[in-house]
Symmetry: C2
Subunit: 381 residues, 2 copies
């Protein structure tokens, strides 16, 4: 196990009816900006619950943070927040709204341009406190510091470090009206978050291995049932909790991490507009295949503990584990091949060019460069 430092101060407020609690969690003297996406919260009752809880607070609203939140949209919220002397942010929505709000909270206290903050990776001044009401289990942003922001002018997508939310309300009932493709993306995103932290070497940390496998087992158990019963409270609660636990640091104690799949996936999103989860479903089987030499022992462990693959040679087990993974994604209704999305050599060449220019070195061995990324993508044709 490697040395590590861990701290996660986010207060989780979990369960039905818990949105009302935000009234007592936010000091009454705060000037709050509530941030939203495109309006689904007006259909599922979340907007009313939030407004009712904060009826005695001083609030303004900012609407229109889009999926893969763009710095262009967020600059408008930052300008508004400065003008209105906002000193508390409440993000109501999924990971995109939360990620965007992390940039707003980071940018309001200073005059640095928002995209410069993203490129810098973090800030050295005090970030405004932010909190969340989550409506889409997927990114884990409700209980971590990270945020991923897109620039629609330069067609780039990068992550930066903000603060953990001071609290996050997770009411599984808010997810009852999610469309199937968003549930699929959330399950895939959660699954691959775990894999990025887990599928490296064996025997580094047997406890976090078990915990990572526990999330994967829970997801594979509940995914088919969720599709049949999207309004089953316990199923959605298990999904929602799994998504938060997949990226809040709990399974990352003292272990190396990968993240190559995410980095390649981000490029497919900015170049083709594919949803984040969908890009991960396409890329991950390729990462497993092309890096199967260094990841082989862990793939075998994964196959055995998550998919009960306990016979065959090492190569056969690796093949079976990759196939099971791809089949799982396909069972959720997403395509897993670039050719299915009519993406081909020009995109591979562009990603190779970008990674060459940026001199990237992703993966737990720091060996996923432009050439390896090309091989991973070629495997996914």
């Amino acid at each position: 196990m490697n040395n590590f430092i861990f701290q996660n101060p986010t207060k989780l407020i979990f369960g039905k009816g818990m949105i009302a609690r935000i009234a007592e969690e936010i000091p009454i003297e705060k000037r709050i900006m509530i941030t939203f996406g495109g309006g689904s919260v007006k259909k599922n009752g979340v907007y009313e619950q939030v407004k009712d809880a904060l009826k005695n607070h001083n609030t303004i609203e900012f609407w229109g943070i889009e999926p893969n939140p763009s710095v262009e949209t967020l600059r408008k919220a930052i300008d508004l927040g400065k003008k209105e002397k906002i000193d508390f942010l409440l993000a109501v929505g999924g990971g995109s709204v939360i990620d965007g709000t992390k940039l707003i909270a980071s940018a309001i206290p200073q005059d640095t341009d928002a995209w410069d903050i993203v490129l810098k990776g973090s800030v050295d001044w005090e970030i405004l406190p932010l909190a969340t009401v989550l409506t889409l289990p997927a990114t884990g942003s409700e209980m971590n510091r990270g945020a991923v922001i897109s620039n629609s002018t330069t067609r780039e997508k990068f992550s930066f470090a903000s603060n953990c939310p001071v609290f996050s309300v997770l009411d599984p009932e808010t997810t009852f009206t999610l469309p199937k493709n968003q549930i699929a993306n959330g399950i895939i995103d959660t699954f691959v978050h775990v894999m990025e932290q887990y599928l490296t070497f064996t025997d580094i940390n047997p406890l976090t291995d078990r915990w990572a496998e526990g999330i994967l087992q829970t997801l594979t158990d509940i995914a088919p049932k969720i599709y049949e019963n999207p309004r089953n409270y316990d199923l959605m609660a298990n999904f929602m909790l799994s998504a938060t636990m997949a990226l809040n640091g709990f399974i990352a104690f003292g272990v190396p991490q990968d993240w190559a799949t995410h980095m390649i996936g981000h490029e497919l999103t900015v170049l083709h507009g594919l949803s984040h989860g969908h890009t991960l479903a396409i890329v991950l089987p390729g990462t497993m295949r092309i890096l199967s030499e260094s990841k082989g022992d862990k793939i075998v462990q994964y196959g055995e503990r998550v998919w009960h693959i306990d016979t065959g040679t090492k190569e056969e087990r690796i093949d079976a584990a990759i196939r099971k993974t791809e089949d799982f994604f396909r069972s959720l209704g997403v395509s897993t091949r670039l050719s299915e999305e009519r993406i081909g050599e020009p995109t591979i060449a562009e990603i190779e060019r970008r990674f060459t220019e940026r001199r990237v070195a992703f993966g737990e061995n720091g060996n996923v460069d432009a050439t390896i990324a090309r091989r991973i993508l070629e495997d996914r044709m």
Copy 2:
């Protein structure tokens, strides 16, 4: 899953050489009381590392917090802390030193007697910040709010809620010189902490079930190896991390809890001086046996996932799981029967009398009263 609120702000600083970090974690203007147990930290180098790290800080020392820390000892530390205007506590030791220091940190700011604080269960004033350097993995106190304090005059042992440590340093190398019986007690304490939160009903939270089983699997995997290799860094790191994770709230999201075994065990400690872990090894198999009707389905799940018991009738599986549990404790070198410790009917009668007087109702069903406690203890004769 039940509604829940979770927050754990403790900063974990984990790994070899990390004690030096405390210098930057404690503000230089603080007046620190460093608290210790009986002196083992002078033999294993921890004392020197702590003193060296804090050589530029303002510190005083308090020595002699005993196993099952007594309010009588702690009152002396509280008086000293008030006199010296202490405003930061650093506990260096195992769970007893940390628990005792939580009472010191709670009592210094007010004039309420320390035992009254324990009986009240919590305080409504600001507690002094405390931090820890852990040397004995067992209680989990390094990352939770709880503390258990004994009164040697009244022969009582109760828990109360203080604050989470602001940080805890866990360096597995500090455990290399632990005697075998302390390692055994730490493994048993960790194991039973998990069981108190896990062995209730099935299908409440499949994710925390997996995580609880992950700790149990890790413990049963590493325990025999630790006995062979007590200076193996990775083994001790796995043990140390497991102990902290067993009682920091991570496996308790939205689940009912039991704690009857601990409550009965505390009485055996105050009446006979048995170590805490040892009492749990004696009591737990009885709790499983006597409550096997309500806990049966979960015992079967536990047997299958932790001990690979996958054949036989339900009754046979329950029997096998209880036997495996007791055998595991015995393999660590502790006795598991009251008769082996020459404890008999007079003690059972006294515990029954105390529980009747206190009108206790322990367990996830609130049905472990004086009569059930007697039956559990009779099962352990």
